[in-house]
């Protein structure tokens, strides 16, 4: 069993690496073929051709694309993602700065969507076709079909501009900017570590709205899936037997259904988490959130290919890695899967 598991693990890991490499190739080629002009962005619109050519050479853009690709791979092998045009910093250090902001937002969002979505799905399944179920379905449908962008603006109009309940765009009120030294990069954590409770509360007020809005679509998905998993279980013999023995509905759910759908839920949550990290792009623009989504968007605007490729790979890697983890968890936790593997 153990050897087989390791082999299976290896196979999936290889799969992950191949997928990543393909992603890298595609992103790189698209990036180099796009008619953007990072050189013009650096030396300026009015620069003379000599300065332009010199900068082009410095960035290695005069080489044939396959050579550029090998140089890039070589750099990558040494942990070097190249230099970002926009900031002049190594892309890796830019990403190290931008990623925690996205991570903080997506993590809070996944927590919210889990803690709301799972109970909502359970309740909807338990009271199938009741009013609660219908409301849950409408909530889920709305969450799935309305663009995050629109939600963001409306949310700001109501809760920020109108009711004054939450902070505005950005991670913290502007005059608190720069007062917390980044340690983990997670502002909520850093502000607490440094005893800046005022900034902590302010930062919390700022993250709540984008996190809820980001969470909403994922929450709808999680609720829908939880509902159908639960319904599937509710018709199983063991549940009927348990209920016949007089176990309360809540008890059935907690003791019998939940453990049985846990594995499926993990997969769903992993996919959602990956999706949230990705989906943060739009949310970050609306909320001026200085994360990886905004970093990528701006890199795209000026054709900063090193930054785009690296950010795409990171987001792609996380997405694939979470899927990989879910797969592994699935294999480890589900007895039937274990059988299948064996």
């Amino acid at each position: 069993m153990k050897e087989l598991s390791v082999a299976e693990f290896g196979r999936r890991l290889a799969h992950l690496l191949v997928s990543l490499f393909i992603l890298l190739c595609v992103t790189f080629v698209i990036g180099r073929v796009l008619p953007t002009d990072p050189v013009g962005a650096i030396v300026g619109e009015l620069a003379d051709p000599a300065a332009y050519a010199a900068m082009r050479m410095r960035l290695g853009l005069d080489l044939p694309i396959y050579q550029q690709f090998f140089l890039y791979l070589n750099g990558l092998a040494h942990g070097d993602f190249g230099t970002a045009v926009l900031t002049g910093n190594p892309v890796s250090s830019d990403l190290a700065q931008a990623f925690p902001a996205t991570f903080e937002l997506a993590t809070l969002a996944v927590i919210i969507s889990t803690f709301v979505g799972v109970p909502l799905g359970l309740v909807a399944a338990l009271f199938r076709d009741s009013l609660i179920d219908k409301i849950a379905r409408v909530v889920a449908l709305v969450g799935h079909s309305i663009p995050v962008f629109w939600f963001g603006i409306v949310g700001l109009v109501i809760f920020y501009a109108g009711l004054n309940w939450v902070g505005g765009p950005g991670r913290v009120d502007v005059f608190y900017e720069g007062l917390v030294t980044p340690q983990t990069g997670l502002l909520l954590v850093d502000s607490l570590l440094q005893g800046e409770t005022e900034i902590f509360w302010n930062a919390l007020g700022h993250i709540i709205l984008p996190a809820i809005i980001l969470a909403y679509a994922a929450m709808a998905y999680i609720a829908r899936m939880t509902r159908s998993f639960t319904l599937e279980q509710l018709s199983q013999d063991y549940v009927i037997a348990a209920r016949a023995k007089g176990v309360s509905p809540a008890g059935t759910i907690l003791r019998h259904v939940l453990p049985n759908i846990a594995v499926q839920l993990i997969t769903i949550l992993a996919i959602s988490y990956g999706g949230l990290l990705e989906g943060a792009v739009v949310t970050e623009i609306v909320f001026s959130w200085p994360g990886i989504g905004q970093y990528m968007t701006n890199a795209l605007m000026i054709g900063d290919m090193n930054a785009i490729v690296a950010a795409t790979i990171i987001v792609g890697f996380i997405f694939m890695f979470l899927n990989f983890l879910a797969d592994v968890a699935y294999a480890l936790l589900d007895p039937r899967m274990r059988e299948a593997v064996r």
Binding site: P35, V43, V174
Partner: protein, 531 residues
């Protein structure tokens, strides 16, 4: 760690839900100015490299130049206390000023700075290079007489007035040579360091620049005319116009720029806010590629000039951003000529096309940056040219794509924008009227007219003559002649609208005066509590 932070988040979230109501947010403090804008184009804060408007606005507060130009266009002293003009050049006497580092500002720093600008040789150098200064002659032409005296000789292609205006631009900022030289690596003139740090003598110093997030400026307490009233200035990147509007309404920002015309309109006559419409002396332009089989014909260009509804577009789209005008000189400038009679006249336009031999019309592409108000402008042009039989296919893209296409002459029609470097005919018109060598090999991509492949030897010669004419009256006559010739030639770079930069200010802010070339200085800005 992950467990810890997750636990913390859960706790925090629950906590926040219970106390959500009492959370409230104070307006910006009285001693901090918060500006909301788009920082997307800011790629560097090295004054000898960056030329983008928003970067210029920031850098003009970090650095001083020898002279300054006021918002109404006068040249006034800045680091130079006084200057003397003679036949061969200008001698500047420096005042007793210090850099933020504590080093004194000396003639050596001035020589170093102008040399650095020309030797780095990027877009920022274009302004001086256009009049004959370059990396080979700068050491000879710019010299230190003594510690506090600098001599700049004329290049032979410049008058004193034109030189002074160029020295007032942010690109000729004076940097702390001692400080910069500490940070040189790979013969880069300290550029890598200077992009994200400041070494100036201006009223503010750069505390932090996070690209596309924010810029924080700290007051320079030892500034030569005294510490600025604002302790900090924070420029925040707000890419979404509607969000910017909400932040301004809520008092989280004090000054807002780069808003869409629609969002701007909501502040019109609104209590507590004022709109400043800053003239730039520049234009929104329709560039036509004269290398194109249709557009090389002056009659076709004239047909297009008659095929655009300037007044209608001004009213419905440009709003605070522009005013209809087809001569590349704002009408309030001295020696500006009245507008030609180009206005939407479908019949006349069709007739001109027929005369040119294109009775049945033809198709063209129109490239534009997807940005307010240019994208709406493109749609309007598409609609009105369709009436005369010219079918337009709009291709939008980001800045670098469109600029690259413009530089490579790879377009039919394209909408660029310009600005004036000095408030006179030459300052706004020069880039429309000079193209020394139109050949493809000249590859003069930095020249606005060259990009349109529009060959104008006569106008180029006239522009050169005007720029060297010392007599103001004769110069005025030449200016009129230049504009008339420009109109006569049916321009392939057709100015459509004089360009304005609208900004909205909270009425708490006093002393903020937008500058036509974005050299807006903030040292005398104050804020009151009352709104």
């Amino acid at each position: 760690m992950k467990h810890f932070s997750k636990g913390l988040f859960v706790g925090a979230f629950v906590g926040a839900l219970t106390i959500a109501a009492p959370l409230s947010y104070a307006a910006t403090p009285k001693d901090q100015l918060v500006i909301g804008t788009s920082l997307a184009q800011v790629l560097s804060l090295d004054p000898h490299q960056a030329t983008e408007g928003k970067a210029v606005e920031i850098m003009s507060n970090l650095y001083d130049r020898l002279v300054n130009s006021t918002p109404d266009g006068k040249i006034v002293p800045q680091l130079a206390e006084s200057w003397k003009v003679d036949d061969k050049g200008i001698t500047f006497t420096l005042r007793q000023a210090k850099f933020a580092s504590g080093n004194p500002v000396t003639a050596k720093d001035v020589v170093y700075s102008i040399g650095r600008l020309l030797k780095l040789d990027q877009a920022a150098a274009a302004n001086l290079k256009r009049v004959g200064y370059d990396k080979n002659n700068v050491d000879k032409l710019v010299t230190a007489v003594d510690d506090k005296t600098v001599r700049i000789d004329f290049s032979g292609q410049v008058t004193a007035e034109m030189l002074l205006y160029r020295l007032a631009a942010s690109t000729t900022s004076i940097v702390d040579s001692v400080e910069v030289q500490k940070h040189v690596s790979d013969n880069d003139w300290g550029n890598a360091w200077m992009r994200t740090h400041s070494a100036g003598s201006g009223p503010f110093t750069l505390n932090r620049w996070s690209p596309n997030e924010l810029v924080i400026l700290d007051a320079n307490k030892d500034y030569v005319t005294g510490a600025p009233k604002m302790k900090r200035v924070i420029v925040r990147h707000v890419p979404e116009s509607q969000v910017e509007r909400l932040m301004l309404e809520r008092g989280d920002i004090d000054v807002a720029s780069a808003m869409t015309a629609a969002d701007l309109a909501t502040f019109k006559d609104k209590q507590g806010f004022t709109i400043q419409r800053i003239p730039t002396g520049g234009f929104y332009v329709l560039s036509m590629n004269a290398g194109n089989q249709y557009l090389s014909n002056p009659k076709v260009r004239e047909a297009i000039a008659y095929g655009i509804d300037y007044k209608g577009i001004e009213k419905t789209i440009m709003g605070p951003y522009g005013r209809a005008r087809n001569v590349p000189v704002p009408e309030n400038f001295e020696a500006a000529i009245p507008n030609p009679d180009w206005h939407l006249d479908v019949e006349k336009s069709k007739q001109l096309l027929a005369e040119a031999g294109f009775k049945d019309g033809f198709s063209l592409t129109l490239k534009t940056i997807a940005q307010t108000p240019r994208i709406d402008l493109a749609t309007a042009i598409q609609a009105s040219l369709a009436q005369v039989g010219i079918k337009i296919d709009i291709q939008q893209g980001n800045g670098s794509e469109i600029i690259a296409a413009h530089r490579a002459r790879d377009f039919d029609l394209l909408i660029p924008q310009t600005s004036a470097y000095m408030p006179n005919v030459l300052g706004s018109m020069e880039q429309f009227s000079s193209n020394p060598d139109n050949s493809k090999e000249a590859n003069n991509a930095g020249n606005f007219v060259w990009r349109s492949a529009w060959d104008i030897p006569e106008l180029t010669a006239l522009t050169a003559k005007a720029s060297m004419e010392p007599d103001a009256k004769k110069r005025g006559e030449l200016y009129v002649e230049m504009q008339k010739l420009f109109v006569e030639q049916k321009p392939a770079v057709l100015p459509m609208f004089e360009r304005f930069e609208p900004i909205v200010l909270s009425s708490k802010v006093q002393g903020y005066v937008g500058h036509p070339t974005q050299l807006t200085r903030l040292e005398s800005v104050t804020k009151s509590e009352a709104q």
